[in-house]
């Protein structure tokens, strides 16, 4: 269900929106409008709960006894600090190694090879 949000939807239209929302067909704006409406409309909220129960029952009858739970990614402060420390350490080590190998700016050619020479023929 895409398109412009309904300006003044009727109750039947909200039911259609709830159906579409459970199918995952609503845009972010439409979902926000629906959520706002559900707060104020107990009838629609009850209709949505009924729809959900029906869908759960249908899923169980199709052989899925448990609802799927998708875990949210969790960033723990300790792990974050550890990875930041590792990244800094690798960067410092690489910088030290590059400085040892090539020094400052300029080519890494040995100095004597860039100096002039005189050969007698």
């Amino acid at each position: 269900m895409t398109g412009p949000p309904l300006t003044h939807p009727t109750h039947d239209q909200w039911l259609v929106q709830i159906d579409a929302e459970l199918d995952g067909e609503l845009s972010l704006v439409e979902r926000a409008a629906l959520a706002k409406h559900l707060v104020t409309c107990a009838h629609c909220a009850g209709a949505r709960a009924s729809q959900l129960e029906v869908r759960v029952a249908l899923a169980r009858s199709a052989g899925n006894p448990h609802a799927f739970v998708v875990p949210r990614p969790v960033i723990r402060p300790g792990a974050l600090a550890l990875w930041v420390a590792i990244a800094l350490g690798v960067g410092l080590l690489a910088g030290w190694g590059a400085h040892q190998r090539w020094g400052g700016p300029g080519s890494g050619t040995p100095l004597e090879e860039t100096r002039g020479t005189i050969v007698v023929h």
């Binding site: 400052g104 700016p105 300029g106 080519s107 050619t109 100095l111 090879e113 860039t114 100096r115 002039g116 020479t117 005189i118 050969v119 007698v120 023929h121």
Partner: protein
């Protein structure tokens, strides 16, 4: 050895540096420039090769040893190695010396931009072929230089560098709009002072003059390339030998230098190469 060396270093011998700047090419090496510098045996040669990223300046000097000659070269090299954070070029300076011994009329090949990786890759960049010649001068002692640049997109320079054995100094006293008659005098560096009398109007000014070499240069480049080789200094002292009135330094380029005197007059001195003897 000494008896052989001394006659060769006498005023009758003329030294010539004959050079060719050559660039490797696909078919045959290409001559970019050619020239010669000649003069008395103490004549040096300053060679400059410049590109967008490298500047090589070298001062070549010779020391005759019997039938052979020691060729020394002071190199001053600047290489652009990148840019600073503010976008300005960053240069790397290098000063070093090379010495080889060769026979007169032998060819020395100078690789001013380095030799590349030895034994693994061919030598890259232009090189300079240098032949040292000597001949009897027949009284001709002045330095001379000739240089023809075939490829005018390159920046090459060749100069004779000679330290003057004597200098022709022209002195004037100046007071307002009045100038004394010019007083020419030939001076030899580090010789005992000479008394000079200058007349302006009816007043006679007596001065004690001596010619000295300038202080050693401060920068590595000026020292290596003998940038101030033709600079002399005139030391002016009152005849009673008290504190010096001043020192005037300048090149032998006929430009007047001025020194205010306590009497209110101004001493103007012009340095020039002396005429042939």
């Amino acid at each position: 050895m000494l008896s052989v060396t001394i006659p060769m270093q006498g005023p009758g011998t003329r030294l010539t540096y004959r050079i060719r700047v050559i660039e490797p090419a696909a078919v045959a090496p290409r001559i970019l420039a050619s020239g010669a510098v000649s003069g008395p045996l103490d004549t040096d040669m300053r060679l400059t090769l410049r590109s967008d990223s490298v500047e090589v300046e070298a001062l070549f000097q010779v020391t005759p040893i019997g039938d052979t000659v020691n060729l020394g070269a002071e190199f001053f090299t600047r290489r652009r190695v990148g840019r600073s954070r503010r976008g300005l070029p960053v240069w790397e300076d290098d000063t070093y010396r090379r010495v080889v011994r060769l026979a007169w009329n032998d060819t020395a090949r100078v690789y001013p931009f380095g030799s590349g990786r030895r034994d693994t890759a061919p030598r890259k960049g232009a090189w300079v072929e240098l032949i040292l010649e000597r001949a009897f001068a027949g009284g001709e002692a002045r330095p001379a230089e000739e240089f023809a640049v075939v490829d005018t997109t390159r920046d090459f320079r060749l100069e004779a560098v000679v330290r003057p054995r004597r200098a022709h100094v022209v002195l004037n006293l100046v007071r307002g709009d009045t100038v004394s008659a010019p007083r020419p005098i030939d001076l030899i560096p580090e010789e005992p002072p000479r008394i000079v009398r200058l007349v302006l109007g009816r007043r006679v000014t007596t001065l004690e003059l001596s010619l000295t070499r300038p202080d050693p240069p401060r920068s590595d480049r000026e020292r290596a390339l003998a940038i101030d080789a033709d600079v002399v200094c005139l030391r002016v002292v009152p005849p009673d030998g008290s504190e010096p009135l001043g020192v005037m330094c300048g090149r032998l380029n006929s430009v007047a230098r001025q020194l205010p005197l306590p009497s209110g007059d101004t001493l103007a001195a012009t340095f020039a190469w002396p005429g042939p003897r």
